[in-house]
């Protein structure tokens, strides 16, 4: 890589000098809007994306990086507004019964799937019932639809969801890709239903009409489309005639394809490549912070040494997160202070700057906990045993250079407090086995759920499907259940603030590191690029145009 980086750096420097007098384009905001002028209809766009979706069936959606493709073809009953609430999309409104157990939706009556099937209450029921088919998507059935009793078709334009117990997260599900509406005809007839693709019809502004595995996916405008949600930016059909997403896994190749004009938009710009974009006046860069849980280290309290609160606190104090992030991401990462991402309405801002980076305190706490001796390599020991904590990372799921970040944390805790952070980058099977056997002390994770509560249920509830902290605290479970049951925003905020206080401040259970973000870089001739409200990932191509 070195010669290329060097060449790139030299070029960057040259370009930067040449532009010294000119104003440099900002790294956030949307200068593209100004240059691309007013929206125009027509044209075809090519967009290079990092990730090829495993499936094009929205019900099987599991990759946040695939979200921008889902919303081109499929739509849900609700969508998110920028305040963390919901807006009607394929519905016109909904009511919650007094006991919180029945959600009744009024549906739009002017919507058709691309295969001609009419969208109505029967279609909604067919979509939900599909999840009850054995083996279709056991994870959604066990998590998002855990409390669902049945779906009732009241009349063609009214559908009711009956729950076994109150669950406000139903709304989040009905605004998520998994809750998107697929034509009942496709559900019945598709040969490869779980893989999706051109044979699955949706109601969205584009029609997926070409997929070449390993290369690209192609969408054509749906001319009949006229039911965009209120915050979509415009009404009627999409601007672009067609859009092609090419799968380019290498970031330097994506950036090169953009700078040489072979594609007009790219997604996923690593910190090291950002200068190549920002130094070029023909290009612009936008960043969006993701929703859900921040990328954090969860500490395993089930056994020593993290069964001791003082050691957990010491581990957190031993890391200067700001310095580590600057070293790895060159200032492009946003530090996280809570397990909940900073864009969530449940985020507790008062946690900021309340802990971390105090080396003296870390050492004092470890002394108190009995880890007083040092071995030949400078690591702390107690009763002849080294203070070792293990982090197991599953290689297929490592992104954002999280393996490099782990090495930086490893160096920091060794230097400042003599803690031995043992990082293993392994295959998925080995990682699962280590987690199942409890052979780890640190678990790393971030989740892109749009409702942070959904992420916390999985990560922190004692019955959570990915709870790796070993903490079984009835108070915590109760708070999480309160947050899920109430449809009153203020009550939910209060419950999740308590959750954050308990896990971050009181128990030092979590070391939050950074808020995951997405980047879009584009030619300035492209307008209307945006990030989805709440989710914070690149939005669909509905509002995107190409100036002529």
């Amino acid at each position: 890589m070195r010669p290329v980086r060097l060449a790139a750096a030299v070029t960057t420097l040259a370009v930067t000098l040449a532009l010294a007098a000119a104003c440099s384009p900002g790294s956030s905001g949307s200068p593209a809007e100004a240059e691309a002028g007013r929206p125009v209809s027509g044209g075809s766009l090519t967009w290079a994306v990092e990730t090829e979706p495993i499936t094009f069936n929205p019900h099987q959606y599991a990759q946040a990086k695939a979200r921008l493709l889902v919303w081109n073809t499929f739509e849900a009953l609700l969508t998110h507004d920028s305040q963390g609430g919901h807006l009607p999309w394929l519905s016109t409104g909904h009511e919650v019964s007094a006991d919180g157990k029945t959600y009744t939706f009024e549906l739009r009556t002017d919507v058709s799937f691309a295969d001609g099937t009419k969208f109505d209450a029967t279609a909604v029921k067919a979509n939900i019932d599909q999840f009850l088919v054995e083996g279709y998507n056991p994870a959604v059935r066990a998590v998002q639809l855990r409390h669902l009793d049945r779906v009732e078709v009241v009349d063609p334009a009214t559908v009711a969801f009956h729950l076994e117990q109150p669950d406000v997260l139903l709304l989040d599900f009905l605004s998520s890709p998994q809750g998107a509406q697929v034509s009942p005809k496709s559900l019945k007839e598709a040969r490869n239903l779980k893989a999706g693709g051109p044979e699955l019809a949706g109601t969205g502004p584009f029609i997926l009409d070409g997929y070449i595995a390993g290369q690209e996916v192609h969408f054509t405008r749906n001319p009949a489309y006229n039911w965009a949600p209120a915050n979509a930016g415009h009404t009627g059909p999409a601007y672009l005639d067609e859009i092609t997403y090419r799968f380019l896994k290498e970031s330097s190749v994506r950036v090169g394809a953009l700078t040489s004009g072979q594609v007009q938009v790219i997604e996923g710009v690593p910190a090291t490549d950002e200068p190549l974009i920002t130094a070029n006046r023909q290009l612009s860069l936008q960043r969006g912070l993701n929703s859900g849980s921040a990328y954090s280290y969860y500490l395993n309290t089930a056994h020593a040494p993290f069964d001791d609160l003082r050691v957990r606190q010491a581990f957190r104090e031993a890391v200067d997160v700001d310095a580590v992030l600057t070293g790895v991401y060159r200032g492009s990462a946003t530090r996280a202070w809570s397990v909940i991402g900073p864009t969530s309405p449940f985020y507790d801002k008062s946690l900021e700057k309340t802990y971390g980076g105090d080396t003296a305190k870390a050492n004092r706490l470890l002394d108190e906990a009995g880890w007083t001796a040092r071995d030949a390599e400078g690591f702390r020991t107690r009763d002849g045993k080294r203070l070792t904590v293990r982090l197991v990372q599953s290689a297929p799921f490592v992104r954002d250079r999280r393996d490099v970040l782990a090495q930086a944390v490893q160096a920091a805790v060794k230097q400042s407090a003599g803690i031995d952070l043992n990082v293993a980058l392994v295959d998925q099977g080995t990682a699962t086995k280590a987690l199942a056997d409890g052979e780890y002390e640190v678990f790393d994770n971030s989740r892109a759920d749009t409702d942070a509560g959904a992420a916390l249920n999985l990560l922190l509830h004692s019955g959570g499907a990915i709870n790796r902290t070993g903490l079984d605290d009835p108070r915590l479970d109760k708070l999480l259940e309160e947050g899920q049951a109430s449809s009153d925003r203020a009550k939910r905020v209060a419950a999740y603030q308590q959750v954050q206080k308990l896990t971050i401040t009181d128990q030092a259970l979590i070391l939050p590191l950074y808020a995951p973000a997405d980047q879009i870089a584009s030619a300035t001739t492209v307008g209307g690029l945006n990030f989805e409200p709440v989710a914070g990932v690149p939005g669909s191509a509905y509002n995107v145009w190409l100036s002529k």
């Binding site: 890589m1 010669p3 290329v4 060449a7 790139a8 290079a48 495993i54 499936t55 099987q60 599991a62 054995e134 083996g135 056991p138 994870a139 059935r141 066990a142 998590v143 490869n192 239903l193 779980k194 893989a195 070449i212 595995a213 390993g214 290369q215 690209e216 090419r246 799968f247 380019l248 896994k249 290498e250 330097s252 190749v253 090169g256 394809a257 700078t259 040489s260 004009g261 072979q262 594609v263 599953s394 290689a395 297929p396 799921f397 295959d427 998925q428 099977g429 080995t430 990682a431 699962t432 086995k433 994770n445 999985l458 499907a465 990915i466």
Partner: protein, 304 residues
Amino acid sequence: MITAIARRVASGAIVLWAAATAAYLALLAAPGDIVDAIVGDGADTPQIRSQIIAEWNLDRPAVVQYLDYLLRAAQGDLGRSYLLQRPVRDVIGEQIPPTLQLAAAAAVFGMVLALILAVTTRHRWVRRVSSTAELIIVSTPPFLIGIVLLSVFSFRLGLFPVSGDRGWAALVLPAVTLGLPIAGVLAQVLRDGLDRALDEPFAVTARARGLTERAVLTRHALRHALMPAVTLLGWLSGVLIGGSVIIEQVFGRPGLGQVTLQAVSNGDMPVVLAVVVLAAAAFVVINTAADLAYLAIDPRLRRS
């Protein structure tokens, strides 16, 4: 003749079976089971696991699953991909043409370039320059070669597109990237063979008959030099398959390499097994071709 063909087909079948079995055992021995692989980093509860086990019939003993797999593979049913939820035959089938295209183009480019280099660089200093360049290419990771070629010929000069399977222009850079190391190795082997052949008594005889040095080289010595190069054809098939993983990633090309990588890292057993069997089949075919090539090149072998 018929016995010879039958023997070859039988040994080919045994190679295929052995490859499939070895791959099966390797995946079985890898830590974690198939359920872990399907769960991935998502939600994981006993109910989810039991549904996955039921869906894929994973509760049967490994031996039964293995025999069932063999039986169905023999009938041409390669099963469904755990990860992609599509028939393996479709997954692999649509990736074979771009892979063959790339492999053939790279192999032809590599062999032709090697021949040209070995024959034309006979003078002392030209030969030293060429030989050094070959060694550098051979020891450079294909990833780096690909990126350098891309940044020069695609990003700077705009001669070739970066991405995808878009006609011949898009095939040039990937084929060159994959073919250069092949040319490097083959050129070294050929040159070495030429050196040895030109020292043989028959070369002296040929020169004594008044043949020009060029005629001695191309008509007599090259035949001898080709033999060790042909032996390398088996190695070539390995390079082409292994190299395509990187090439496809860098150039955003469809092909078997990426499918294989994804299948291995996700424990997608049916796809991995199908690819292994396919690679073994390719290996058998290429080696058979090599055996036939020996006969074509060396008349002495035809007599025995």
